[in-house]
Symmetry: C2
Subunit: 445 residues, 2 copies
């Protein structure tokens, strides 16, 4: 019988690991809470109404349907039984010979989870459409308001977190307010909107060289964004945000706040550490060996945002798509090599450079020692954003909509869609046990 490889998470890491195992003599099971792979770097475009969710999300089954040794399971992993090599789902168990944990990361409110109600994060499709609803709804509310102070609060938007997500969000939001919606209202002038990007450190985009960060700040300011550094957020509520700097406190009245200020590793890191004795770093990431396996457990790999992989430079690799993709491919290669009885070198990340887009036509980029900034040739912007799209159709659609939006300065998906009443999701309505303990694949009818 084939070795059972179970992969948790259908993001970049899990997906690339699965497809690297195509035609290998293993059976692959990919488990995800959702049915789709999400291109997270473009979520901010859904949140600002430029793209639809389906433009950046692709069903996992569709991506893997022609890979005969792979099956997709929609389910939620809650724990592990590493002694018996089982993954424990909310409603079942799955056996494995080799396990790849690639469940990613979520939002980190640094102990203030109650802020999440007023400052949603941006990690999932639902996050993005909710933020979109709040942004567009704020302009609608301002249009109906007669009290000038209330209008100002509705037209003030605060983005907390000056990393790539916050910067890209701020730039896009400035374009929404100052260009896209310019003629749409009669009582208010959307150009009166204030967009404030808040960063606790001294520098936005701290992972870039200081010169590039300064360029990015200037670009944002040219777009109309107010960049505020050096102040920590000490409160978020329905009315706005409080920033503290030393003794000074500053309240910003804002009805719409977005949180992009921290990530926290998936809770499965903790579950894995409890089973295996692995160490976790401060962000909850699992410290892994040079071959990305859990110490003492060569049959368990951790990759992507959940992994703390520091053997190359002493510093852990960042939680970015590039790293997850390369790690996914690497682990696929390791598994293949082991089946052949071959050795394989430790994981060696190759940094192909990073880029942050500021609004529609400007960017900063750092490739090794090369630093670039300025107006972005649109082919380059396009190429980069399309590069990792999971399938050809999405590339065409994103291209068409991008081109349309660029030429007409419009945005394609500025819908306010209501939230639905709460309910349990499909998988928790099930109480099933999988028939996988028998060790055979169920035959198709």
């Amino acid at each position: 019988m084939n070795k059972q490889v179970v992969i948790i998470g259908g993001g970049f890491g899990g997906l690339y690991a699965a497809s690297r195992l195509k035609d290998a003599p293993v059976d692959v099971t990919l488990i995800d809470r959702r049915n789709h792979h999400l291109f997270q770097p473009l979520l901010y475009q859904v949140a600002t109404g430029a793209l639809s969710p389906a433009d950046i999300a692709t069903p996992l089954r569709g991506l893997l349907k022609h890979q005969r040794n792979a099956r997709v399971m929609m389910g939620e992993v809650v724990d592990f039984d590493t002694d018996n090599r089982q993954v424990i789902l909310r409603d079942g168990t799955v056996r494995y010979d080799t396990l790849i944990v690639a469940s990613g990361s979520g939002k980190n409110y640094f102990g203030n989870d109650q802020w999440s109600k007023w400052a949603p994060g941006l990690k999932t499709v639902e996050d993005a459409t909710e933020i979109r609803r709040r942004i567009l709804g704020a302009f609608e509310a301002a249009e109906r308001e007669s009290d000038p102070e209330a209008v100002r609060a509705w037209l003030t938007f605060v983005i907390i977190g000056g990393g790539p997500t916050g910067v890209e969000m701020a730039g896009a939001l400035a374009e929404v307010a100052y260009e896209t919606l310019r003629h749409d209202f009669r009582s208010i002038n959307p150009a009166d909107a204030r967009i404030i990007l808040v960063q606790s450190g001294d520098q936005i985009l701290p992972m870039y060289h200081e010169d590039l960060s300064n360029r990015a700040t200037a670009m944002l300011q040219r777009l109309g964004v107010e960049v505020r550094t050096g102040g920590r957020v000490t409160d978020v509520n329905a009315h706005g945000v409080t920033l503290s700097s030393g003794d000074q406190q500053d309240f910003i009245a804002a009805r719409t706040v977005v949180w992009t200020a921290g990530v926290r590793a998936s809770s499965l890191g903790k579950a894995l550490a409890e089973c295996t004795g692995a160490a976790l770093d401060r962000g909850g990431r699992v410290v892994v060996e040079p071959d990305l396996s859990v110490p003492g457990h060569p049959e368990i790999f951790v990759i992507g945002d959940l992994a703390h992989a520091a053997h190359q430079t002493g510093e852990p690799l960042p939680g970015v798509a590039q790293v997850a993709i390369q790690q996914g491919r690497y682990v696929g290669n390791v598994i293949r090599a082991r089946l052949r009885g071959a050795n394989i070198r430790p994981f060696a990340y190759q940094d192909r450079g990073n880029m942050a887009i500021i609004g529609r036509g400007a960017a900063i980029a750092e490739i090794g020692k090369l630093r670039l900034s300025g107006r972005l040739a649109w082919p380059a912007w396009l190429a980069i954003h399309l590069m990792y799209q999971a399938d050809v159709e999405n590339r065409i659609l994103v291209f068409i909509q991008w081109l349309w939006n660029y030429l007409t300065r419009s945005r394609s998906a500025m819908l306010i869609t209501d939230r639905q009443p709460s309910a349990t999701t499909t998988q928790t309505r099930l109480s099933v046990k999988l028939a996988t303990d028998s060790g055979t694949w169920p035959r198709i009818g």
Copy 2:
């Protein structure tokens, strides 16, 4: 001061009335609960994952932004004060000289509103994404199930209502199950899915000639749909649907049920009738004069699905897009004519024909006495579905995705997106009064 024309509803009727008043010496206010115009005839394509909501919905502000005499207001109308010529919103009032009520229709469960929980209708974007979630979730649940009877229930889909919406939904769903998802699963075979279309009368598509309805039935059956006529639904619950025919009762175990069996006029019809003494028909539609105004109230028009306009033939015009569009334009013309002191003839509907699409490539059509059926030349299908798209971009996007889907037999938007926790919508969070009583337009800053 210009006459104030207030239009309630941004569907086909309201939108075409508003744009017909472009450059007329009036001020137009279009009020809708939502921020977008929805192309309802293609909602079933969102519900079956072929299109995204933004492909068939366009923000009203964007559509009207270059019409200087028009403004859009997002709000919910709850009542009228026709003596004082005021529209009463949940959170304000709006004054009018002329009123056009075009608030459309909603679902009708014929007194069994509790069925709506298990058999959602298909009138809004949220309805469509919820139905999509249930359909795709059913296949996911079936894939995880080990009990064969439960698998069968998850793979049984019932569509209640054999009108155009139900028929188109059934055909599309058959293609999802038997083509799109064909290779996507490993434990189940999606081809085992049962799709059952239930019609209480003897004939599906009763508005068409019997020959065409029979053709449509045959086309559906060729697609794999079971068409059941002559049975009334007497119960819907979490486990399935009960059909009754004479003494006989039949329970169909089905976890996914969709309701397309009845429409009921917007509740504003009742509110209007109470103020004006207008008569309502059995479906709640307002009986109007030959010029579509409310009897005794020449300043109030009712158009679209909310209107019972029977003067042409004795039978009321159907609640279809064509009728709403022509009535919208007509009322715009009446208002213009009155301003010039001219007379205008009664409304005369011109039936340009109807078409129902059965799956991807077949249709029936009736144009006057001309009856057509069969494999549809795809240019015709396309032309018709694109014809009423509100803007050029949507036409391009729908065309691209349609072409892709047609050639690859795939579907573009098969996402399961979770429902969000319940909350009040933006407009009910406001408690504002509009400053419109002063009679002046607020100036833009």
